[in-house]
Subunit: 350 residues, 2 copies
DNA sequence: ATTTTTTCCGTTACCGTGCACGGAATTCAA
DNA sequence: TTGAATTCCGTGCACGGTAACGGAAAAAAT
């Protein structure tokens, strides 16, 4: 199928007996065109299969979008650091096309800090925004303002009730809990299971682990109704205390052979597990943090379910780029991305 | 970090007291510039941190690259059909940027057909080529010709000894065999294992399953030295015969509880397995063909290891685009992509 | 010293769109 | 019927870079 010369806006102008100015007005339907001319131009466009030259268009418009990304502050090796890598990846792809990405961060345990970040973000008046919603109310205010300024925004990681978002990139949370249970019990020997959970500050509004837990429990109920599932709450900032908690738990329930966590902090219990190698048969957690990958390659953790926040932000940025620069809406609004099963034998390819 | 006005080629011309023609000659170093002027321009470029506007550049050059893809003919639901979907995906992304992709196919069991496809491809004089090497000799001739015409090309799926390829996208084959063994024996109950293999025509030159098999056997030897691994060869075009072969195999070795295949054809033995549900505990194969996914969701197949040829071609096309249009070489030449573990609980996200 | 060649550089016409501006044609008001 | 207000449309420049063309200056040949 040979591709002949692409028709230009001038071809259309000639064929419809009008000028390129009129054609341009039709293309961006900004009025000032008679019904007759409009129809004529439209028919010619369809006939020739005209497609605008994005290079010329972008050049003429002088686009140089700045895309703002709003995520929590992160420590080294944390979940959000992965997201940051995605920003870098996206910058590499579309950076040469004149796109700048700007990062705004906040303290996840301080609503005022979030407000502050929002204000700074809005003050920079970006062309598009990528957000990981954490404070429901704060995000609502932010998106309302963005809509008012008609700045497109996408969500990733967590979705939020909202009308105007351009796209969402995240995980099917319920399914991920289900999958977690399957990976945990794949050796068919589970009878007593421990789920380690984090003591959450009550202000935390959107917690994906709640839904994951639901999927996990449903799986267990369906496949292993006789299996006992127990919870243990730990404080992520107090390793000594965590150690004690684990000690006393396994003292009370020595038959526990399988351990799962629904957040990215499985590395917190890796030290204990390594000091008691005979106790546990399978351990499953979430997310490919460096610490988790280390535990995985040492065999302490059996499997990780990875959601690749880097890909999520990258796709979010890409979607904004397509929309702003190329004028293309995303194919799907809600994009549930793949969850990958990581074992010690396939981590190297990540 | 506010981004001020990007310097243009004119800014550089002014600052160096020369004209934009000279600056352009320096930028594309095509000579006709005195040493003195060259140095002057270069220093100004560095000083201002000049970066060319790709939109203007592409527009002026009138780029409309045609990228040729060379793969075998495929039946519906086959491995190569997945690759084709990647072409569609890539077209969606860079199609609006004026890129055309053209497909060339050949009969994988007919070397003459391959030659023919190569000739047609060369005759179309594309701006870049994506190849899945199958006939070693034929590919060598093709790439030699491409190098002569200085047309960039990338490999995917299989790599080939070759000097001039721009990039390669594929799977770490050895590791994939290792991973396959791990997934097969994850229930720790394997003592007799069956590996189903395809009777290959001898002309077939590059067969990734050989290396996969090596990885598989190494894993088994390391982790389950007492486990017996047997092979059974089947003819992919003769389902009746396959059925008989399986019957007599399991009659001879009724203790066989685990089955693996190293190619994408695990669906071939799914019917037999479904008629003998009690016989086998775990079944592991490769690649997310529709037929395989069906078997997976029915529970006939326990896990699939997917290499996503669609992503591989898409990245190949992307790499060519970056190189041709944006003038960017790929970061890495050999790109070993992730292998994903698919179970019935995470297939929906793919 | 004059002609020829070479080296080097500026000028200029695009590439295809976007958009401001101004003017012609039409309609409305008086 | 005339002036004003709309409606509608064409013209022309800008965007930043590419590359052909031609000419001035310097070097080489006569």
């Amino acid at each position: 199928m040979l591709q002949k010369e692409k028709p230009t806006i001038m071809d259309i102008a000639h064929m419809s007996g009008l000028s390129k100015g009129t054609v341009d007005r039709v293309l961006h339907n900004r009025g000032e065109v008679s019904r007759k001319s409009y129809d004529k131009v439209m028919s010619v466009i369809k006939e020739l299969g005209y497609e605008p030259n994005v290079f010329a268009s972008a050049l003429a418009r002088g686009v140089s979008p700045r895309i703002a990304v709003l995520i929590p502050e992160y420590g080294p090796g944390s979940y959000w650091e992965l997201a940051l890598m995605g920003i870098g990846k996206a910058s590499d792809t579309i950076g040469p096309l004149g796109v700048d990405t700007e990062l705004f961060q906040y303290n996840p345990s301080d609503a005022a800090s979030f407000q502050d970040a929002c204000n700074r973000l809005l003050a920079s008046s970006p062309s598009g925004v990528v957000v990981a919603p954490m404070f429901r109310l704060g995000v609502q205010m932010l998106t309302a303002e963005l809509r008012r300024k008609s700045i497109p925004y996408v969500f990733f990681d967590t979705k939020q009730d909202d009308e105007g978002y351009l796209a969402y990139f995240g995980l099917p949370e319920y399914k991920s809990g289900y999958l977690c249970a399957d990976q945990l019990t794949i050796d068919r020997s589970a009878s007593e299971v421990l789920v380690v959970r984090i003591k959450r500050d009550p202000f935390r509004q959107s917690d994906p682990t709640i839904i994951r837990r639901a999927g996990f429990l449903d799986y267990m109920h369906e496949h292993y109704p006789d299996c006992t599932v127990r919870s243990l709450f730990i404080d992520p900032d107090d390793p000594v205390r965590t150690d004690q908690e684990l000690n006393s738990f396994f003292e009370a329930f020595p038959g526990t052979t399988h351990v799962a966590m629904f957040n990215s902090r499985i590395y917190l219990i890796a030290p204990w597990l390594e000091r008691h190698p005979a106790q546990v048969r399978r351990v499953v957690g979430f997310d490919n943090l460096t610490a988790n990958l280390n535990a995985l390659s040492r065999g302490t953790v059996s499997a990780l379910i990875a959601q690749h926040p880097d890909e999520q932000v990258a796709m979010g940025i890409q979607a904004l780029f397509d929309f702003i620069v190329l004028g293309k809406k995303p194919l799907r609004r809600d994009n549930y991305m793949h969850m990958d099963i990581l074992t010690r034998y396939n981590i190297e390819s990540y």
